[in-house]
Symmetry: C2
């Protein structure tokens, strides 16, 4: 089951308490980063996650508070002896940005760096999960992502199979291969496949249909909530969302848990936005820097 | 008298304890930053210094651990309503770097940003201090800086002037203007001008004559000491300095106080390098993140 670690939950500007945007999701041993604001690599060093296990960095849009941590973590991985390839995915501009910075700043990278300028609809496969890209609605070209762990096979009920007269060995193999054996159908002794855990990440966006479609049925939604419910006009003007809009998106996609993040510095008490969202979608938590959550059979728990 | 605040003292890679290179020197209300590694703006937010008072950022060379904090602090100043101009000075490449990053990452900057690609010998004037640029010796084009507070006028001894028969008013004005009045020479009643406080910063460099000449007589030297004395060969190979070489530079330029910084992560006990430097130049301190020092008449004191 996955772990979700908030590395930076600030909006636009960092503050004493909050680094700019970055969320890490760990599935088995591999980590995906959603966005990579300045200081993300050091936030990881302060956490139980190893930055060397990052398999991909998924950038939602080319605003500084979402990308200024990229060149540093890329170079640090190289200087720390990384050999595995790293994928960086983002909207148009991400390649020019990395090419310019890494060439001017003498960044010879000692591993394979795959930079993907993705369009909505793109699917990318990784060892422990797949990533699908959807379009969002912000003031610059912007993407959101759904990360899905691979489905795992259903449990084979060995004792039940024996009680139905089958024997370990070739009978079992044929059953597992999908054949009916001596009148026993596979689904009688093999539980249905377990769907991989899925996490959707909105990036900065107004409420948008693209997210609702792509993230439908996700277990967890991490959604921006830059503004409080009372500032819907500001949210619309700058193409952001309110706490309540984030909660409404969670309700529509039918997720189990909502995290709201990227709350504006204008709110001294961010818990007010959490309460607003909870009134619409009770299973909501306000994301805070360096808080770690683990998915369990019974839901998402603070670790 | 100035304050010196170490914001990042790491070498190449950040760590849990150390951000990458950045040192702030405050003279009256204005601040100069030497280098600007990733996370410098947030380190400032954790310190008593205001990032809005930064008048100039002086970059020594285009390695990521010295420049990756630049775009973020520049954008944050703009979003925080800065109106005063900001000067960023560095070697060739600094302009292309900022142009690329700020254009790709939508950085409209609402104040005057003066980017100076400087050559050794350049002098730049600011309200509270001047900066002179010198060449250093690293694996890429590299600069060092001497920051000098303006000289202030010597104290006028009003009582002594009266006891010598002069009267407040025109007599005093003429004396202060440099004239001898009724046989009293200005230097009899006006103390000599007070030399502005000066701080020299090496950046990453092998021991080099450029620094010794430009920084001669500086009050404080902030010098890299990437390696311990036992690893002179490594230091020479990668064009860095050892603890002892930093101390020898301090001795040659005749400064009052040496800070060593940029000690490699390979040393668990960085105090060993401090001890090595102190054996050559006793007034040495190891720089550590977020430590603040103030200059007093009696020397440099931890604040």
């Amino acid at each position: 089951m996955p772990d979700i670690l908030f590395l930076g939950t600030g909006a636009s500007l960092p503050s004493r308490e909050r680094a700019p945007s970055c969320v890490a999701v760990r599935l088995k041993r591999d980590i995906a980063l959603f966005d990579c604001g300045e200081g993300s690599q050091r936030q990881m060093m302060l956490s139980p996650f190893s930055f060397m296990r990052v398999a991909c960095i998924l950038i939602t849009h080319m605003h500084g508070d979402h990308v200024f941590g990229l060149p540093g973590i890329i170079q640090t991985m190289s200087m720390s002896g990384r050999k595995e390839p790293l994928t960086v995915c983002g909207p148009e501009g991400i390649r020019d940005y990395l090419d310019a910075v890494l060439s001017i700043c003498e960044g010879s990278i000692c591993y394979q760096l795959d930079v993907v300028e993705a369009l909505p609809g793109r699917e990318i496969e990784f060892k422990e999960f797949s990533v699908s890209v959807f379009g969002t609605d912000h003031v610059v070209p912007s993407l959101g992502y759904v990360l899905r762990g691979h489905d795992s096979k259903g449990r084979f009920d060995r004792n039940k199979a024996i009680s139905l007269g089958l024997s370990p060995g070739p009978d079992f193999s044929r059953l597992k291969g999908g054949e009916t054996v001596c009148g026993v159908r596979p689904e009688s002794v093999i539980e249905p496949p377990v769907k991989g855990f899925s996490v959707a990440y909105s990036g900065d966006t107004s409420p948008c249909e693209g997210l609702e479609l792509a993230a439908a049925g996700a277990d967890v939604l991490i959604h921006e909530a830059t503004y409080a419910d009372s500032e819907k006009e500001m949210a619309a003007k700058f193409k952001h969302s309110t706490s309540v809009q984030a909660a409404e998106a969670a309700k529509k996609i039918g997720c189990r848990h909502l995290f709201i993040t990227h709350v504006s510095n204008r709110y001294d008490d961010r818990k007010v936005l959490e309460a607003e969202a909870r009134a619409v979608f009770p299973n909501t938590d306000l994301a805070e820097d360096l808080r770690l959550f683990s998915a369990t059979k019974d839901g998402i728990r603070s670790a």
